[in-house]
């Protein structure tokens, strides 16, 4: 069964939609309440530059993963669950 669409939704679509939503709110606040017009522009540029860079990296990294080989069940089974329960004798 191919879960690539589901992975794309979890790792790309939802985060990018979240970034976009937060970006609108933050930019709205700077533009509405920030008192220095020139500084507001710089702040928005820096903020957007950071978000765009991260978004491009997400798309790149998502494309680099071979999703056909991903088996989440195997990943969970392989994990040493004592990590969560505190294995002090390790």
């Amino acid at each position: 069964m191919n879960f690539t669409f589901l992975y794309a939704l979890i790792f790309v679509v939802i985060p990018l939609a979240g970034y976009l939503l937060f970006a609108f709110v933050v930019i709205f606040h700077i533009r509405k309440y920030g008192m220095d017009k020139l500084f507001n522009k710089k702040a928005i540029l820096v903020f957007c530059f950071g978000l765009v860079t991260v978004s491009i990296m997400i798309v790149q990294k998502f494309s680099a993963v071979n999703w056909d080989k991903v088996n989440v069940t195997r990943l969970i089974e392989n994990a040493d669950l004592n990590f969560f329960y505190g294995d002090y004798d390790r």
Binding site: F11, P15, G18, Y19, F22, A23, V25, V26, H29, I30, Y33, G34, M35, D36, K37, L38, F39, A43, F47, G50, L51, V54, S55, M57, I58, K61, F62, A64, V65, N66, W67, K69, V70, R74, L75, N78, A79, D80, N82, F83, R90
Partner: protein, 195 residues
């Protein structure tokens, strides 16, 4: 009268800023924010959370999650870190916004206090300089003494309508300047400062 906007530590703030509620005969004397050093704890927390997933990967993954160190799972881990960094960037920016939008504007007529408590909680209040009764400044602790910042409390006869300028740079100079402005405003109105 020489104002702090003419001095080196407050470079031409009034010129650079726009202030929509400014009255026709009102002049901005200075605009104050918390000292930039107050961002240091936030910066440290930000750095901690930046290196946390990388530290987790190098310290715990090889022993507790060996499969996560192999491809394609390692790629997924770094994809998740990138998503996490995006949200960290937004949170850091929101925190910075909280600092940037906290502002005190002193004009020749009033003191405006604008506080951004969180993203959707904004408080604005003002005190007429003529009504100011007492002004006090406090520099508390090693860090405040070393970096020359502290609090200035501006009080009126009303207990509720007081303004506390928190962690501002050069509190003693600010107190003196506000005192001068109050004297001028009260002399103009024919009153006297009770400080």
């Amino acid at each position: 009268m020489e104002t702090m906007t003419d001095k080196k530590e407050f470079p031409a703030l009034a010129i650079a800023y726009r202030f929509p509620g400014l009255r026709d005969n009102e002049e901005i004397k200075f605009i104050l924010r918390r000292h930039t050093i107050t961002l240091l704890p936030l910066l440290l927390v930000f750095f901690f959370f930046t290196f946390l997933p990388l530290a987790f990967y190098s310290l715990f993954v090889p022993y507790d999650f060996p499969l996560l160190a192999q491809k394609p799972y390692s790629d997924i881990y770094f994809l998740m870190i990138t998503v996490y960094y995006g949200f960290l960037w937004i949170i850091a920016f929101i925190e910075w916004l909280d600092y940037y939008l906290d502002i005190w504007i002193v004009t020749d007529q009033r003191i405006l206090n604008i506080e951004q408590n969180n993203l959707f909680h904004r408080i604005a209040s003002e005190i007429d300089l003529k009504r100011v009764q007492d002004i006090s400044s406090a520099v508390n602790g090693l860090l405040q003494t070393f970096f020359q910042y502290g609090d200035v409390k501006v009080q009126t006869a009303s207990e509720e309508n007081n303004i506390n300028l928190k962690q501002i740079p050069h509190p003693v100079t600010v107190r003196r300047e506000i005192m001068e402005l109050c004297k001028a405003a009260q002399e103009e109105a024919g009153w006297g400062l009770n400080a």
